[in-house]
Symmetry: none
Subunit: 201 residues, 4 copies
């Protein structure tokens, strides 16, 4: 059993050490040799911990996603207003710091892989993310409804909002696109319609 822990640990170490590299190069230009070099292990060793290059990249993505999820949850809990919570939920598509840029790149690379040659495992992963975030979003909105701050119809928009965020991400490499806080604007516009009364204050 400690052996298993060790294996898992090393797997994670390798994946994490190559995250930056993956961000820079993307799936197709990342080579297994580079990953090995970066992790200070031999090329053959990589295959003791991963089944294939795809497996490596998937692990990188999973670890990054896990870390991001934790952070998002924390941020949601640390904010008060509904809109802030929603923004925290979608920070991937809103934030401008370099960490966010890196994460966007990882997520976009993930989507690129899925779009190009979706494996069942990856599709499942994508679906899980979608469900997880949509559920969190619904929880937030439900609370807003309970607190009479949002109209009940708002629930219908949870999925749509998530899709919108995803769509915004797909344009994020366009020059100046993020300068304009696109998703935030969309959220604002939507909230005008679904908030109850007192936004004017």
């Amino acid at each position: 059993m400690p052996k298993i822990v060790d294996k898992l640990q090393k797997r994670q170490d390798i994946a994490l050490s190559s995250t930056e590299l993956f961000v820079e190069k993307g799936f197709h230009k990342l080579t297994v040799s580079e990953v090995a070099l970066n992790a200070h292990v031999a090329k053959g060793t990589i295959y003791e911990y991963f089944e294939s290059k795809e497996d490596i990249v998937f692990a990188i993505i999973e670890y990054a996603q896990k870390a991001y999820d934790d952070e998002v949850l924390t941020n949601i809990n640390n904010t008060q207003s509904i809109k802030e919570k929603v923004s925290a939920l979608f920070s991937l598509c809103i934030a401008k710091d370099s960490e966010a840029i890196k994460r966007r790149k990882i997520y976009k690379e993930f989507i690129a892989i899925v779009l190009d040659e979706a494996s069942d495992e990856m599709i499942k992963f994508q679906q899980d993310i979608k469900n997880k975030y949509t559920n969190w979003l619904k929880d937030i909105l439900l609370q807003g409804i309970k607190d009479k701050k949002l109209k009940p119809e708002v629930l219908e928009f949870a999925d749509g909002l998530f899709a919108m965020a995803e769509g915004v991400l797909m344009f994020s490499h366009i020059q100046n696109y993020f300068d304009e806080n696109i998703l935030q604007l969309h959220i604002d516009a939507l909230f005008k319609l679904i908030q109850i009364g007192d936004d004017k204050k």
Copy 2:
């Protein structure tokens, strides 16, 4: 005197003949040899009409997009109600016929390429599509506003709607996803909020 060839025509012929192949295999698994075989020309001939493999794929995408744009415009003009027009605009993300499936695959492959290694030319192309469709959408919505069928605020949702459609596309490979008419539902939900009066009828 030499054989006279309509170079543009032949370029299109080659691109079109390989569209199916591209849909099946995607950018990375498509080989120039296959394209040549498919077009019944020699490998070298391909390079008389295209500069590189990327050029081939881009041509395939461009022709497909052009054909789709024409169809969309026609469909928009052939429908009456605003909602139908909007649905026609987004038919890529709504339709279920095999032709639509193929087109979705092409578009998704295009996005995958852009996400993975965006060339300026491709980004520009993506941006142009976005602008074109958003403008068409705004025209439709404006008409709705003029006809007092839509609240003026609706204009703010044009970009958001487009992003939403794009996002929906990014999930379109998920099992059963399309059975539920996702984007149509989102549009319906949104229209409830932005239509004036008589939707209840």
Copy 3:
């Protein structure tokens, strides 16, 4: 018969028009397409006047050599002293003007081809050049002997001098090599040994 003249003329035109190109790119990097483009004829037309790419390049070299030979002869006749005549003979390996640099490049490229894959025709051409120049050189030296300005043994050095000049050429791409007037120095050193008496004046 006028037809033949025309053919020859056009052959020369094509060759001459591509001389500059050949100087720039060398045999392996020169393409037949470029030659055609440069001569304002179609690719196929080239093969009406030349048998192969090698044939084109050989023609370029031949015309250049012919022109150079004529010039050398003129220069030899226009100078008085023996040493000047010898220098005129070897101007290819001595001169520093851009025209000379171009000619050196052509000749060196010719040697490169011969060294790499000597065809009988090319070897014969090289041999002819060698014989021609050696004979001219001998004529000059003979005159010097007759005029009692050179020791009779000097005749033995004709071949050696030519080889020396050829060898100097083989280093001519070395940085600063030509600044030092290498061949002229060698000739001067040799003349000290073979001149009769009065060089000190």
Copy 4:
């Protein structure tokens, strides 16, 4: 533990095993596939030891040159008279055995490459050879001067002699050229002029 390989040794093995092949075909017609076949390794393996085809060929040339240098030095030391030492130095341009023919071919191919598309590295290598041999030659001549067997002026001919040898090499493929011992004749002629007194004995 992995198979331990002396990378340098293997690099040399591959280069040496392909020397013959290189002699036969020259740079442009030598293919990496052939090199691999010849060395009984896979094509990919070649690239574990060499960066490019040019790198392979350069290695072949370097190893051949190194071996030749050693041999020349030995031969110089094993002979007594100045003229013999000089002949030993230039044995590349004099010897008639098959080994010498092979070495000439290698050297000529090297010159062809340098003439055609000189890389800085290759030019430097050529220059180093030139300097090395010229220095050795000067050492020999200096000893002759010290021993009062050669006139001091002879030193001025060191560079010229080397150029002459190089030049002779450039004609070495001409039919019957070597039968006549060309360079030896040139050397003899020169020595008549620069030797002190007693050559007649």
